[in-house]
């Protein structure tokens, strides 16, 4: 069993892991950089170790200092959270070599899943459906063009080592291929230190659906249902929800079965996510696997009642899963909004600063995961995630209204601080989003219209404070939750392109 766990992360996920440890009776060792010395997780921990200056590569990415901290503090396990070292097989291996239980999959499996081309090949072998394309790396533009001609345009050129939405280029016509190929390789080499790319069919009008899975070290695996993360900006998720209401129950069950089968076929253990693209007919195509806990895991927690971080730790400690597939019954609908310290009107530029006011929403089925407290400073050294607002309700329409109510309750103020709160409220008023008919390109296509709506909300919002009372403040998203499109023309937004016929 694990008695003392080091959290190799910061911010909201560090606090989330510390809470799971507390509930399990596991002691917590926090590590922190100089700028995080007064952070929430440091205050919660049994012991905190200062591991380096603010720059991540000298602190949260600095393996020797973290491993030394674990050994010195007497930890017997390490939880990497997400980001930073969470998908670094070398780190997982060093932890194991030092006798530390790594909360995650075996290093070799992590390595395989970390390379998208390898993951594609393994999942194809396991029988998962893939978009037409190649599994092997493409070496020359000529080779790539031949493949693109065969599978048909549009295609997408992807970096094998890519992640976080970087290193992919959509090519719509043969004459654009060479340039896209060269640029993507250059980006891949610069950002991921690996120029390997592959080519697959680009599905327009698709939805991003991912399946949460959990596998123990005894060959058991379950699916915990799916999340729809189609609201993305440049492949960065902004709002996630579950279940994927556009799929039939049969399609959802089948997707879950495929995900578990794929994960078990490579010997995966722990919590993981299989990402799929789903076309208009509900056909799903495997994209990639994330070998770690994900930012949006609370959506699944609210739907299933299962504490994913707790289960992750128990599985890492060698326990068998305490439930079977039939015990997992997702209920109702959940939505998560990522509240980022960013200014959407300035290209989502980071807008960090001191949080002079941080009033978080509360109330029924309303959860806010954050690593910040009022008075803390959002550091420019790290990602801009300020917190995650998650709500649950019996159905999607109620969840949308609940989220809007919660967003309206939230107050974040400080010099230079901007957030994505108004953007989320605008998104939840968009007819396509309300009707659940948006696709993964929706935000890139409609951002100006959404921003205009957000600005008009902002204009209305000031001066609406407590004096006028609580909940009535919040205008309901729409009188009819599924408004007729023809009556909704006030802000022009280009319609979704039709699905390609092929």
């Amino acid at each position: 069993m694990i008695d003392r766990l080091l959290i190799a992360n910061r911010g909201e996920i560090a606090v989330r892991i510390a809470r799971a440890c507390r509930e399990l009776g596991i002691e917590v060792v926090a590590v922190h950089s100089t700028s995080d010395r007064n952070s929430a997780v440091v205050a919660m921990a049994d012991e905190a170790v200062h591991i380096g200056p603010p720059a991540p590569r000298r602190s949260y990415l600095h393996v020797p200092n973290i491993v030394e901290a674990a050994l010195r503090a007497g930890a017997d396990a390490v939880h990497p959270g997400y980001g930073f070292l969470s998908e670094d097989p070398d780190f997982a291996e060093i932890c194991a070599a030092e006798g530390l239980t790594f909360v995650g999959p075996p290093p070799a499996v992590m390595q395989q899943m970390g390379n998208k081309a390898t993951a594609r090949r393994l999942m194809a072998e396991a029988g998962l459906p893939l978009l037409p394309g190649v599994v092997e790396p493409v070496r020359t533009a000529e080779e790539g063009r031949a493949i693109a001609d065969e599978i048909g345009y549009p295609v997408i050129v992807k970096a094998a080592a890519g992640g976080g939405g970087r290193g992919m280029t959509v090519v719509r016509a043969p004459e654009d291929f060479d340039e896209a190929f060269v640029t993507t390789r250059a980006v891949a080499r610069a950002v991921f230190r690996d120029p390997t790319v592959y080519v697959e069919r680009f599905l327009s009008g698709a939805r991003h659906v991912e399946v949460q899975i959990l596998c123990d070290a005894h060959g058991n695996g379950v699916s915990l249902g799916e999340r729809d993360c189609s609201l993305q900006r440049r492949h960065q998720k902004l709002l996630e929800e579950g279940p994927a209401g556009h799929l039939t129950p049969e399609q959802r069950t089948e997707l879950g079965r495929l995900a578990v089968h794929g994960a078990l076929s490579v010997g995966y253990t722990g919590a993981g996510t299989m990402e799929f693209l789903v076309d208009g007919s509900g056909a799903a195509f495997f994209m990639e696997m994330n070998a770690r806990i994900q930012v949006e895991h609370p959506v699944t927690e609210l739907l299933t009642g299962i504490d994913l971080v707790r289960e992750q730790i128990l599985v890492a400690a060698g326990r068998r899963l305490a439930f079977r597939q039939e015990d997992v019954v997702p209920r109702g609908a959940a939505i998560e909004c990522r509240i980022n310290a960013e200014d959407p009107t300035r290209g989502f530029a980071p807008a960090p600063g001191r949080l002079e006011v941080l009033q978080v929403p509360d109330g029924p089925w309303t959860r806010f995961d954050t690593g910040y407290r009022q008075g803390d400073t959002v550091s420019p050294d790290y990602d801009s995630l300020l917190g995650k607002l998650v709500v649950w309700a019996p159905d999607r329409d109620q969840a949308i209204r609940r989220m809007d109510r919660a967003l309206a309750e939230m107050r974040v103020e400080g010099p230079g601080v901007h957030t994505t709160i108004a953007l989320h409220r605008a998104l939840l008023r968009d007819p396509d989003v309300v009707a659940d008919r948006h696709d993964v390109q929706f935000l890139d296509r409609c951002l100006p219209a959404v921003l205009a709506r957000a600005a008009s909300l902002d204009d209305a919002a000031p001066g609406l404070p407590a004096a006028r009372g609580g909940l009535q403040l919040v205008p309901t998203p729409a009188a009819d939750p599924r408004p007729d499109r023809s009556t909704e023309g006030e802000i022009p937004c280009p319609p979704r392109p039709s699905l390609s016929t092929t």
Binding site: I51, P53, A55, A349
Partner: protein, 167 residues
Amino acid sequence: MAASELSTRSAGPDPDAVRDLHDEVVALARDLPAGLRRLTVRDGDRAVEVEWATGPAEGTVMAVAPVAAVVPATAAAATPAEPEGTPVRSPLVGTFYAAPSPGADPFVRVGDEVEPGQTVGIVEAMKLMNPIVVDEAGVVADVLVGDAESVEYDQVLMLLRPAGGAR
């Protein structure tokens, strides 16, 4: 903390580049071996000029700060009133050793004079011995960490006071 007030919003066509520069400057200012005196930043063609105190007398202008064992505290930490002397800090997390091998004489004792470049201790991390080297002359005023004690990043290992007194 003038450095941390550098605005990334001060125009500039490429926000990423400006941000990089900002990060670089903040990191540089934090890594200075002594208090920051003057900071000049230009964005066109990226020039950074930093001046810091070397002693009571003159300042030095250099572009890059060498990585030294002595790193100043970046903020007024919750540590009790900083004792007299120049702190020698641990550049990494590990185990402090006062002597080159068990039973051997320590590298330094209180009252010893040290020269720039002299090893005053070792911090072991991941089975690697990292010598702790001072970058200025002085006299060991106090050793704050015991032999084989674990230390964290930036922890003060010992204090130096100026040698002789009139330097």
